[in-house]
Symmetry: C2
Subunit: 160 residues, 2 copies
């Protein structure tokens, strides 16, 4: 089962390595991980997506709390969050295929962020399903590069 | 000096911890890190932003290549890339302040992704400067939560 875990940490050298190390020692593969500062420059938030049993997640959470520099750990309820991912896709395109690609991009409300003679770069924001669907449709044209940020999420409503 | 480093790795448990560990042992603080799969499910891309001297980056790159599961390391030229970051911002809002916040959101071409009685959730995509400017303008209303994906980047043109 997929779990989305949000970890608030002090923005110090080595904290990320410790968190990632803890998951790896337990044999978890991290599906995606995104880390950036919060509105407080001294605090960073790590958003992790891992595939694991419920009880293993509980154990890891307990161990995470033992690490210094960890402020808060929260498993996010998929039913009560907004989740988003940003993806840049560079796809082969020439004068013949460009109109068809642009049509797909418009349907997905994605954006063209770079145009070259033989390629287009597309930016898309959304949940996994949307991004995967676009990727599937662009594959026949030839995907040259695909970069994902990994998922971030925020709980709905005013609660923090 | 800020460096944007793109690392292609095999999608295996422990690889991320090794990469993050190498940077932390050398005392680098990672400004942001984003990792997700590429168009090939067996390969993930790690995009790192670190603040360091040029010669230290060269040394780390050499050491990274010694790790198994590392496929390719590339330092990206800031002048020749499209860089993007996705940020979710939850801000305090009531019937009185909502119109003003919506106006700011429109100017930045950001999107409202959740509305509650006392808050709004905003999604914005862009480079650091744009995101920082929006954050600055929203601060007076009260930022409840701010989640960043960390930066990803893709080289312009058809080259891969």
């Amino acid at each position: 089962m997929k779990h989305i875990i949000s970890v608030l940490v002090e923005n110090k050298s080595g904290v990320l390595a410790k968190v990632a190390g803890l998951f790896s020692r337990r044999g978890f593969n991290i599906d995606s991980l995104a880390v950036g500062t919060t509105d407080d420059m001294n605090i960073s938030r790590i958003t992790l997506v891992v595939n694991a049993e419920n009880h293993s997640i509980e154990q890891v959470t307990k161990q995470l709390y033992k690490l210094i520099n960890i402020i808060k750990i929260q498993e996010l309820d998929p039913g009560n969050i907004v989740e988003r991912e940003l993806v840049l896709i560079k796809v082969s395109a020439d004068s013949r295929t460009r109109p068809e690609i642009l049509e797909i991009v418009n349907i997905f409300r994605a954006n063209i962020v770079d145009v070259a003679k033989k390629s287009l770069m597309i930016e898309i924001t959304g949940n996994n399903r949307k991004v995967d669907a676009l990727e599937e449709l662009l594959k026949p044209f030839g995907i040259l590069e695909l970069v994902r940020t990994g998922k971030i999420a925020c709980t709905r409503g005013s609660k923090y």
